[in-house]
């Protein structure tokens, strides 16, 4: 080997090594090898309804609910990257819970464009006039996503490992809440929460995609729990109205549809009575004959 070449190699070998290490670091830096990361998306009923009030005054008038009710459902505007389509799907699921109840006349899904951040009751009154709703269910959410590395993330140094091994651990925690307000009296009628936690692993190359999937799954699971609690709260509210009529006044809207119905249960009780009578009658006749 010529002398000149060996001295050149001696000079460049460490440089080559450093270059290789740097390029590996730079490439792996494209993937997630840093500490835990946090993504948050949320909206708040309080900041929407009382944007500039530290101590909002409680409403003084008694809410008057005129049955059957016209209900609106809306997502509270907030810092979010949830698509309008996703919001609509979630709202439709909540709306389905209200449908088919004889004290509810109609349910309107209020698009996000109708509500502005910090709009308060003034904004709700606009919605009330525009869409003709009496009561609104405001759906707020708080979703936090954490991403951290586990031992498998060491495989990211190989670059290929970043596509194969799930070296990232995602944790998605979602809290949703539906607060049902009587717009006219500004009273909170009832509220129902729903929470979920989704944990999943992902390879570095697919972390963002996985986080989006987890976010959707988190909202879905939280909505399912929200719906269960909503049913419960709705029944509790009905009982509360019955037991404490001073708390909420119920009136019937002029122009309701009424039906005269005796029903299967009433007919069945009558049938049972008739059967009992027939048995007694037959028994007495038999005794008379003997």
């Amino acid at each position: 080997m010529p002398h000149g070449y060996s001295s050149l190699a001696r000079v460049f070998r460490p440089a080559l090594f450093v270059a290789l290490v740097l390029s590996a670091l730079l490439l792996s830096g494209c993937f997630s090898t840093r500490g835990p990361r946090k993504t948050e998306r949320s909206s708040s009923v309080v900041s929407y309804l009382y944007p500039d009030q530290a101590n909002p005054l409680p409403p003084t008038s008694i809410p008057v609910l005129r049955l059957p009710l016209r209900v609106g459902i809306a997502f509270v505007p907030g810092k979010s990257d949830i698509s309008e389509q996703q919001k609509t799907v979630l709202l439709q699921r909540v709306a389905a819970e209200f449908k088919g109840r004889d004290y509810i006349q109609s349910i309107e899904l209020v698009p996000s464009t109708y509500l502005r951040a910090g709009g308060g009751f003034a904004n709700l009154n606009q919605v009330r006039s525009l869409l003709g709703v009496d009561v609104i269910a405001l759906v707020a959410y708080d979703q936090v996503q954490f991403t951290s590395n586990n031992l498998l993330s060491l495989s990211y140094w190989t670059i290929v490992g970043a596509y194969i091994f799930s070296g990232n651990k995602n944790d998605t925690q979602t809290l949703m809440e539906a607060a049902v307000y009587d717009i006219a009296s500004r009273h909170l009628l009832f509220r129902a929460p729903g929470a979920s936690r989704v944990e999943a692993g992902a390879a570095a190359a697919y972390v963002q995609q996985r986080l989006r999937t987890d976010s959707t799954a988190g909202f879905d699971a939280a909505t399912t729990e929200l719906i269960t609690n909503l049913k419960l709260q709705l029944e509790t509210f009905r009982e509360r109205v019955k037991n404490a009529p001073g708390e909420v006044r119920i009136e019937h809207r002029p122009g309701y549809t009424g039906g005269g119905s005796l029903g299967a249960c009433f007919a069945s009780i009558l049938g049972l009575l008739f059967l009992a009578r027939a048995c007694t009658y037959t028994h007495t006749c038999t005794r008379h004959r003997t």
């Binding site: 039906g259 119905s261 005796l262 007694t280 009658y281």
Partner: protein, 222 residues
Amino acid sequence: MKTTPAAPAHAQPFPWASVCVIAFTLGVAAQPALASTLLYERLALLRGEYWRLWTGHFVHFGSSHLFWNLAIFTVASIWSERLAPARTRLLLVASPGLIGLALFGLEPALATYGGLSGVATSMLVFLSYTQLARLAAPATPNKNEPLASSPTSDRWFWRAVLALVVLKIGAEFALQQPLFTRFAPAGIRAVPLAHLIGVLVATVMHRNLRGFRPRFLPRRTG
């Protein structure tokens, strides 16, 4: 217990009025287009379409609504018409109109109404009264109602039927919701006032028109 044998079947009048009402109700159900013309609608009544006071009762909001109302009406009305034909027929003519009129006067918030239950309640209560009266006075036959002296039922049963009707109406008024029933279409409320008026009409008919027979019809002898 009184067990006087019932009159022979050939002596019992054919319940043609009840059959006509049943046929009409089924006809209306089979032709839904008729509902808009016959349904009790407050605005239409204010426009002068007074027939709706009568005909609204024969329009129903679903097959279940129709079935159970008609089931009770059929039994009560046919039985009642065979026992007391003249008064039952008068009740069949009067009660729909009187119930409709009462709803119009006393329930101004009621925009639309349908269902035979008010009339069926009226018939059921009238039948119970008639049976109780027959059990109380079995020996005096009524010329106009030839079967009046043949009780076939027990007092406890008819009293229980009356109690059940009263309980249902009372509970519906108190709870502001139907006690034993649920409407298939959402947004339809039960109207216990219709049942209450039905009971009142039957009570008045029973108490004040015993032995009633229209003058233009020949009196039965024996």
